[in-house]
Symmetry: C2
Subunit: 490 residues, 2 copies
C-alpha cells in the first residue's frame, strides 16, 4: 500500500496531519474546527480513559455529570475566568427552529432564550454553583469529583487532537476545608498525570508550575506536565490548578469549620484531554506511521499468514487458533489478519502504519520448522523465533517495547534541554536545536511577554525539582534565583 505520508524532515506539521488521517485516528468534521474521532483513534482514547479513571478512583474520586450549558451570568462571576474564556465561546441563543412557510428551516425568533447559554469551555462555574448546595459543614468535605465530558472553545486555528473547537476531556473539581489540603490535592493529581504520561504514554514529562502569565484563568497556581515532541517543540500534557477560594467566593460557597467558624471553601481543578492523542502521535511515531506503546495499542499483536494452498492455510489456522487463545489468556490483544483480499506485503505496511507493536508472520516453511517471524514496530527489527514458548516471549517483548519507547523519548528529551546564560545563546539554541532552554529570568510578566514577542518561546514551567541558583535574567540582566524552562510550544 502507498502510505502517502509526508516525511518528518520535509514538513513535520504535514507529517502529523497525514499520519492522523491515514492511520484512521481522526478527521475534520463538516463543522468548522470540530473533529470526528474514528474507531481506531477512539480505541486508544478509551484505553487512556480506562487507565486514568482507575487512577482517579484509587485516589478517592468519584465521577459525576454536570450540565453542558452555563448561564452567561455565571460565567462572569469570576473576573479573571471570564476574561480567559469569553473570546472563544459557543453561545446558545434560541431553542427552536421552524419552517418559514417556503420550505426553509429557520431559527424561530419567538423562541429566544431570556438568558443566553454558554456551551461549557470548562465547568468551574456551574460546578461551584452546584457545590453551594452540597456543602454546609466540614463534614461535607472534601468533595472529590471528576467528570468525563466534551467541552467547546471556539478556536480560529485548529489541528486534529491538538486544538479543536470541541474536544473530550476529564475535569476534576475538588473542594477542601483547608488551603494545605487543596494544594496537596493539586500536587497529587499532577503526580497521577506524570505517572500516567511516563508509564502509559511512554512520554517523559517535566513537572512544574506555570508563571502568572500562563496560569489558568481563575487559578492561584497552575501545575503542569510538559512534554517534548520530536520537532523540539513542547506540549503541555496536563494541568492541575490550585484555585484558592476564588470560585468559592464568586459562588458564595462557605462551610462551618470544626471550630464553628464560617469559611470559604478551597478548590482545585485538573484536566487532561484528547490532546494527549496528539502528544502520543508526535512523541513516538516515524515516517512509516504510528508507533504505539503496547499499553495503549488497541491491537498489540497482529498475525499475518503467508500461504499458497488451502492445505498450508489450514495448518497455519490451527496453530494460530492455539496461539491466540494463549495470548488472550494472558491479556494480550491480538488480531489475526486473514483477509483474502490483500497480500501480506500490503498488510505489513498497513499494520506498520497503524503502529501495532508486534507482528507475527508465518508461512509453510515456518510451520515445518516450528518457527515464526517476529517483527518489532519500535526498532523495525525482525527475527525468526521458535513457536515454543512464543506467547511468553511476546508478553515480555511487549514490556520491553514499552520501556524502549519511553527510553528513546527520554534520551531525546534529555539531549534537548540546554542551559544558556545569554539572550544571544538563547536565540541561537531556539533556532538551531529547539527543545527546552533552561535559563534565568527576572520573574516579571513583562519580560516573559517581550521574549515571547521576539522569539515565540514561552516559559513552559518553573520545574518543581529545580534548585535555587543565583543568576541574572538573560533578557534584562536583573537578578534571578532559579532557572526556568523556555520553549516554543504547541
Amino acid at each position: 500500500m502507498s502510505k502517502g505520508i509526508t516525511s518528518r524532515s520535509e514538513d513535520y506539521s504535514q507529517w502529523y496531519n497525514d499520519l492522523v488521517i491515514k492511520a484512521d485516528l481522526a478527521e475534520y468534521a463538516a463543522v468548522r474546527g470540530c473533529m470526528v474521532i474514528k474507531p481506531y483513534g477512539y480505541g486508544i482514547w478509551e484505553r487512556m480513559q480506562a487507565i486514568l479513571d482507575k487512577r482517579f478512583k484509587e485516589t478517592g474520586h468519584s465521577n459525576a455529570y454536570f450540565p453542558l450549558f452555563i448561564p452567561k451570568s455565571f460565567f462572569s462571576k469570576e473576573a479573571s475566568h471570564v476574561e480567559g474564556f469569553a473570546t472563544e465561546c459557543a453561545v446558545v441563543t434560541h431553542y427552536r427552529l421552524k419552517n418559514d412557510g417556503n420550505g426553509n428551516i429557520i431559527v424561530d425568533e419567538e423562541a429566544k432564550l431570556e438568558e443566553e447559554l454558554i456551551v461549557r469551555p470548562t465547568s468551574e462555574t456551574i460546578i461551584w454553583n452546584t457545590y453551594r448546595g452540597w456543602i454546609e459543614s466540614y463534614r461535607d468535605l472534601p468533595i472529590l469529583v471528576n467528570q468525563w465530558a466534551n467541552v467547546v472553545r471556539w478556536e480560529m486555528r485548529t489541528r486534529l487532537f491538538l486544538r479543536t473547537s470541541e474536544f473530550l476531556w476529564q475535569e476534576g473539581h475538588t473542594a477542601h476545608a483547608t488551603e494545605q489540603e487543596a494544594i496537596e490535592e493539586a500536587e497529587r493529581m499532577l503526580d497521577v498525570y506524570a505517572e500516567f504520561a511516563e508509564n502509559i504514554l511512554a512520554v517523559p514529562v517535566i513537572r512544574g508550575r506555570k508563571t502568572e502569565n500562563e496560569r489558568f484563568a481563575g487559578a492561584l497556581d497552575t501545575y503542569c506536565i510538559e512534554a517534548l515532541m520530536q520537532d523540539g517543540k513542547a506540549l503541555q500534557a496536563g494541568t492541575s490548578h490550585f484555585l484558592g477560594q476564588n470560585f468559592a467566593k464568586a459562588f458564595d460557597v462557605k462551610f462551618t469549620s470544626k471550630e464553628g467558624k464560617l469559611e470559604h471553601v478551597w478548590a482545585t481543578s485538573w484536566g487532561v484531554s484528547t490532546r494527549l492523542m496528539g502528544a502520543l502521535v508526535m512523541a513516538h511515531s516515524d515516517d512509516q506511521g504510528l508507533v504505539l506503546p503496547p499499553k495503549l495499542a488497541p491491537i498489540q499483536v497482529v498475525i499475518v499468514p503467508i500461504f499458497r494452498t488451502e492445505e498450508e492455510k489450514a495448518a497455519i489456522d490451527t496453530y494460530v487458533d492455539h496461539l491466540m487463545g494463549e495470548l488472550k489468556n494472558v491479556g494480550v490483544s491480538v488480531k489475526f489478519d486473514d483477509r483474502d483480499t490483500q497480500r501480506p506485503g500490503f498488510k505489513f505496511a498497513e499494520w506498520e502504519l497503524k503502529g501495532v507493536p508486534l507482528r507475527v508472520a508465518l508461512g509453510a516453511r515456518d510451520m515445518q520448522n516450528g518457527t515464526v517471524e517476529l517483527a518489532r514496530r519500535d526498532t523495525q527489527t525482525k527475527e525468526t523465533v521458535s513457536q515454543e514458548g512464543l506467547s511468553a516471549r511476546i508478553e515480555s517483548l511487549l514490556d520491553e517495547i514499552q520501556i524502549n519507547i519511553y527510553q528513546k523519548a527520554l534520551n531525546f528529551r534529555d539531549s534537548h534541554i540546554t542551559e544558556v546564560n545569554s539572550y544571544d545563546e538563547f536565540k541561537e539554541v531556539l533556532d538551531k536545536k529547539g527543545g527546552f532552554i533552561s535559563c534565568h529570568w527576572d520573574g516579571s510578566v513583562e519580560t516573559e511577554k517581550r521574549i515571547k514577542e521576539e522569539t515565540k518561546a514561552t516559559i513552559r514551567c518553573i520545574p518543581l525539582d529545580s534548585k535555587k541558583e543565583e543568576g541574572i535574567c538573560i533578557f534584562t540582566g536583573k537578578p534571578s534565583v532559579q532557572r526556568v524552562l523556555f520553549a516554543k510550544a504547541y
Copy 2:
C-alpha cells in the same frame, strides 16, 4: 434519619422526585431542564455503561465520537427527521462574548455564525454525512459504530432522568449492504437491550414494534422494549430503528456492490439513555427508598458495627477486615460504615434509602456467638447467621436478590396485562387498573390518535411475539388481525 419521602400511594410522582433527590441520584441544575447527576447516581449509570459497552463490543461494534454541533442545513436534509426534532433544538448562533464597556458581559454581535449550529438531539445527520467519506465499496461494509454522548432536546416539562433537556445516552449507527442485514442488526440490538433490561436492570420488557405514529422521525421501522412501572404506566426503555435508505439518500451515501452496481447503503440506529435510571428507580423502589438490583448497586453490601467500648470496636474491626478481604476477592463491592458521627439506626435508614441490597450488622454479642445480622433490602427481612461461610452465603444471596427483584417486577407486570374487547372495557381498565391493555385496533393512525386524545393512552407496541388473531377494532369496529398493547406512558 428522617427520609422525607412522600409515599407512593399518596403521590407516586412526588415519591419519585423525592427519592431521586434524597437518595443522591440527581438534582435539577441551575439551567432550565438540565440535571446534575450526582456521584451515587452516576455510579449506577457507569455500571450500566460498562455492561452495555461490553455487549456492544461482543456483537462487533466499536466506539467513535462525532461532533456535538450539526449545521442547520444538514438537519433539514431528511424531511421527516427535521419535523421530529426542529421544535426542541438548542441553537448556537454566536461564538464570542465581549465586555460592553460598562463591565457587562454581552454576546458579541460581530461574532455571528454564518450558519447556525444545532446542538445534536441525535446524530444520524452528522454521522451519515461522515459515512459518505468512509464508504465506497461493499468491502467497507458493514460499519458498526456506537457513540456515548450527551444530547439536547429542549423539553418544556422535565423530570429528573425521565425527561431532561440534556441527557446522556449511547447511539449506535450502522451501515449495511443489504436491507436484510440492516433489519437483522436492528433486531439483534433490540435483543441486547431486552437481555440487559431483564438480567441487569431486573426489569421485564415486552419487545415490539412501534406503530407509524410513534416511530422515530426518519425510520421505516422502530423496534422497542416497553417496561411497566409500579403506577401502571409504561416506559419505553430502549429503541432500535431500521432506517432503510432514508439517510443514505439524504446524504448521498452509495456503495459499489459485489455485482458492481452503485446502490444506496442501508442503515440502523439504536439507543438507550439515562432514562433507564428512571425506569430502574420506578420499577423496584418502595416507600423506604431505592431497591437496587445487585448487578447495578455501587455498594452491594454495607457493614455497620455496633459497639459501646473501644475494645468491642477493635474486635469487630479485625473481623470486618477479614470479611471485606474475602468479599472483595470474589468481586463483591462492600462498604464498612464505621463513621463515629452517626448512630447505627441512622446508618440503617440511610443505606435502606440508598438501596444497598444487603446489610451486615454486628455487635459484641454477635462476636461472642460467631454470628452477624443479615438484612435484605428487597424483602425487608433479617436473620442471624453464622460468620462461618458468610462470604459464600452473601455471594449466593446477591444472586437470589437479583432474581427475586426481577420476579417481583415480572409478577406485577404479568398481572397488569389485560385483554379487553370493547372500548368501554378499555376505558374502565385504563382508569381502575392501568397497565398494558391488549386489544384489537384497526391499524389506522387516525384511530390511534383519537384514542390518545380521549384517554391519553397510546399504542406502546405491536408485540413481536403476538399471534395473529381475527378481531374487531375496539374503537371503530373495523377488522383487525392482531392485538396491540395500549398504555399510558412516561
